[in-house]
């Protein structure tokens, strides 16, 4: 059946129910498995990373499948996807897959096809010179940075996603193309903490963060919002009912209570938060999700705020590199970033990375006490001597 060319296609606005198909669900996966995967489904015996970006999976039957993993911006145009299809048609019988972290995977069943495919992929560049299909993202390195929409398509971001990810990925490119780190490092990016911004289990997480409380659009708030819902949305009870001079219904914000979560704006468009000076980037580190050796854990805030320095985010890039380089130099083989920080102690983490420790990094939200040190076991760093000096304990 051909795609329709009519303006409204097969849809009849006079009778919306006519010919309506619903609840079809996704297309079934089996038809999109290449034959070698169909034949060896569930029979894979082991895998090997032959070189960065190239995986070989070997089946009990002796069959082999070679995967070439390529980085990609998850924001793509149909023209780029068509080029992916051209490659898939030329080398992979039309099949292609995408990974959870937005990499593209081309699968072939022989070394000869693999070599030709690799050459072709490496040669493809955008006219401005950046790779279209950089090969990498396997093993003990940095793979594609997952991210959210940002200024490209969302109404609540405190920063932009695609540009920051591009800037950081350019700088971490050698880690994408080399497996030189002690373990894999997952970098993630979300442009606000409110919604999809659950970057909280990544080795390094970049998070857009607001710093100014909402402004109230008194003129329209009563018309465009359910005021009680906006009040109820605030987790710290900073919003209360108020009257405008004209006697209309509105709200007031207890600004010193606000934790800048944006939940009120989610519920009510008359309470915008974003602001050029206020908005910026928070960096978290040391989270993981695999159950390997240690349990999954949350990332911790290690840099409270950096400016939105579009388009290259030089401060963000610099801090990310500091963290990565200190980790690369000091961690043991197989040790994830968070496991390393815990082994050496967070006080040593700040010493080795050179990141500044400020009061903003000490939890003062609910259950904060769980993160305070209730022990005499600590290591001495310059920060400890500073405290001792201030306390009058030493000269």
């Amino acid at each position: 059946m051909a795609l329709s060319l009519d303006r409204l296609g097969i849809y009849d606005p006079k009778d919306p129910l006519k010919n309506r198909l619903t609840d079809l669900g996704p297309r079934h996966f089996w038809q999109y498995f290449p034959p070698v995967i169909q034949n060896n489904y569930g029979k894979w015996a082991y895998h090997e990373v032959l070189e960065t970006g190239i995986l070989m999976h070997v089946s009990e039957t002796g069959d082999k499948i070679y995967t070439v993993r390529c980085g990609a911006a998850r924001f793509m145009t149909v023209q780029h996807v068509r080029e992916i299809c051209d490659i898939a048609d030329q080398y992979c019988d039309g099949f292609v897959r995408f990974t959870t972290r937005n990499n593209i995977e081309f699968l072939v069943d022989s070394v000869e096809k693999l070599e030709a495919l690799k050459k072709d992929l490496e040669s493809r560049k955008f006219v401005s010179g950046s790779y279209k299909f950089p090969i990498g993202g396997t093993g003990a390195g940095v793979t594609n940075i997952v991210h959210t929409q940002g200024y490209i398509h969302c109404h609540t971001p405190a920063t932009d996603a695609s540009s920051m990810v591009k800037a950081v990925s350019d700088e971490l490119f050698k880690y994408f193309q080399g497996m030189t780190l002690p373990a894999k490092v997952r970098v993630s990016m979300a442009c606000c903490l409110n919604m999809c911004g659950a970057v909280h289990c990544s080795d390094i997480a970049l998070l857009g963060n607001h710093r100014k409380p909402p402004i109230v659009d008194h003129e329209v708030i009563d018309k465009v919002c359910e005021i009680p819902l906006a009040i109820a949305a605030c987790p710290v009870g900073a919003i209360s009912p108020d009257k405008t001079p004209e006697g209309g219904k509105t709200v007031k914000i207890k600004k010193e209570r606000c934790m800048f979560c944006g939940n009120c704006y989610t519920m009510c468009q008359a309470l915008p938060l974003s602001d050029k000076e206020g908005d910026g980037v928070t960096i978290l580190a040391g989270g993981k999700i695999s159950n390997r050796i240690s349990e999954p854990k949350f990332s911790k805030v290690v840099v409270p705020w950096l400016p939105n320095n579009f388009p290259r985010f030089s401060e963000v890039v610099e801090k990310v590199k500091k963290i990565l380089e200190a980790y690369a130099a000091d961690a043991n083989k197989y040790e994830r970033l968070g496991d390393w920080a815990e082994r050496i102690g967070w006080e040593k983490f700040f010493e080795k990375t050179g990141l500044e420790f400020t009061e903003h990094l000490i939890d003062d939200y609910r259950l904060a006490y769980d993160t305070w040190r209730t022990s005499t076991q600590f290591k001495y760093t310059a920060a400890a001597w500073d405290v001792s000096r201030f306390a009058g304990g030493i000269e």
């Binding site: 894979w44 911006a73 996807v81 897959r97 093993g139 490209i152 390997r292």
Partner: protein
């Protein structure tokens, strides 16, 4: 075919579905692209065309030029959408603020989700993106495609939308970014009729489930992740399209505790493959690893010289439960003590395999930080067989939903509700006995919420009777 689709699958042949001719598709030369400037000034974005990582700006400009070359009747929304989108993005950088308006309710008839309304707040400057709605397209399990399917989506989307998309959105859907309200229903009809394909979820309903690559290409997978994901997506279509929940609900499927789709961190109900017998050991291959004949960890560390493989330092001593030993070059694992962390298997995938008696663990209640802080999923069901038609799993899911729909407040995620009611009450409601596997440690405070029926004689006591024993 080992797995049968629940819906008949119409075959898609691009030669039959296509809109554009080869000449139309290949209308731009590199030379033209090099010299191409969009109609707005975008200096910061042009900076992002440099550097080795794939440039989304360079890509967007390809599409902008491509749209300029198509004839007027070869697209149904404005030619300038991509250029206006880039123009607005540059202004967002200048202003340090987004220029997308807050939401707006749009959708397709009868569905509560899958479409997200999006409007520019600079419609005079960027008229072609005044309406710029998102459509979430439910991806095939673990995101395998063929070019016929993708090319058909591309033609449909360039004709009826912006030609911009995400492969993929964070939930897993293939995301189409930017079309007008008028085109939403026509696109839905093209998707269902021509592509045999539904849209995904958004809003207070079941979100598009997603899974790891599993047995299609991973030797660690302990159950059929794609099949379970597909089956439940199909079985719960009603829950996916018609909001009847207090808030969103996510199902994600990892084939083993390595957790490649991060289900433990980002799904209300997380399914993680596991086994209950013993890790399979091929002793000869273990010896080959010890001898240095096989590269450890599948070669994942080859970029650096870490020295000769040392099975004690790299495996046995790192085992979190210290349940491994080497006796006369024979690797022993005390499987009763093993917590199936995957480390030893990851390091020696050629010699060690997960057990054969497989199933999955179910963990509940992960959520993002808002409001009370992030929650990681809590282990509730240690082991469950996962075989079609998965009735045991469906029954469990429905019990949990019943509890959540009954007790949950508006916009309360399952994890928050479990905290509010407490794990003991939750277990009682869904009919599971408590077990030490569900906790890290027993409670540290003694504030036990005894119930009246726990205590002989109940709580109604007579103070006069008390006073017969104790003077005032």
């Amino acid at each position: 075919m080992p797995f049968e689709p629940n819906e008949p699958q119409k075959e898609i042949k691009y030669e039959e579905t296509r809109i554009y001719t080869d000449a139309e598709l290949n209308s731009c030369s590199d030379e033209e692209l090099k010299n191409f400037k969009i109609k707005h000034q975008i200096p910061d974005l042009e900076e992002l065309e440099n550097g080795p990582w794939p440039s989304f700006v360079a890509d967007a400009k390809q599409e902008a030029l491509h749209r300029r070359k198509l004839a007027d009747e070869r697209m149904l929304i404005d030619r300038d959408v991509v250029e206006d989108m880039l123009g607005q993005l540059q202004v967002s950088f200048d202003d340090g603020e987004t220029h997308w308006k807050h939401g707006g309710i749009v959708g397709v008839f009868g569905y509560g989700g899958g479409v997200i309304g999006r409007y520019s707040d600079l419609p005079e400057r960027y008229p072609s993106i005044a309406h710029f709605h998102t459509i979430r397209v439910n991806q095939p399990a673990s995101k395998f495609y063929n070019s016929d399917l993708l090319r058909t989506i591309c033609d449909m989307w360039e004709y009826r939308g912006s030609g911009l998309m995400n492969l993929h959105g964070s939930t897993g859907d293939l995301v189409l970014l930017g079309t007008t309200t008028e085109q939403l229903e026509p696109i839905f009809f093209e998707l269902t009729h021509v592509l045999g394909q539904d849209i995904g979820g958004s809003g207070s309903n079941l979100r598009t489930p997603s899974c790891c690559i599993g047995r299609a290409r991973c030797e660690f997978a302990c159950y059929d992740t794609q099949n379970l994901c597909y089956e439940l997506t199909q079985y719960y279509q009603d829950e996916l399209h018609r909001p009847a929940f207090p808030y969103k609900f996510k199902l994600k499927f990892d084939g083993c505790p390595n957790g490649c789709v991060a289900s433990m961190a980002r799904s209300d109900m997380s399914f993680i493959g596991t086994w209950r017998d013993s890790i399979r050991i091929d002793q000869d291959t273990v010896k080959a690893y010890i001898a240095g004949d096989v590269v450890p960890n599948g070669g994942a560390h080859m970029g650096r010289d870490w020295g000769k493989f040392d099975i004690h330092k790299e495996v046995i001593d790192l085992c979190p439960t210290k349940c491994m030993s080497l006796v006369d070059d024979e690797l022993r694992i005390d499987n009763q003590e093993c917590t199936r962390c995957m480390h030893c298997i990851n390091v020696m995938p050629k010699a060690l395999k997960p057990g054969k008696d497989n199933g999955l663990s179910i963990l509940l209640g992960a959520k993002a930080p808002i409001l009370e802080g992030a929650q990681m999923a809590t282990l509730i069901v240690p082991f469950m067989k996962a075989e079609p038609p998965y009735d045991n799993i469906k029954e469990f899911i429905e019990k949990v939903w019943e509890f959540w729909i009954e007790e949950g407040k508006n916009r309360e995620r399952l994890g928050e509700l479990m905290q509010r009611t407490g794990l003991p009450k939750f277990l009682e409601t869904i009919g599971l006995p408590p077990a030490p596997q569900m906790i890290k440690t027993p409670r540290e405070n003694p504030y036990i919420l005894w119930k009246e029926e726990d205590v002989p004689g109940g709580w109604n006591r007579n103070v006069n009777e008390y006073r017969t024993r104790h003077k005032r």
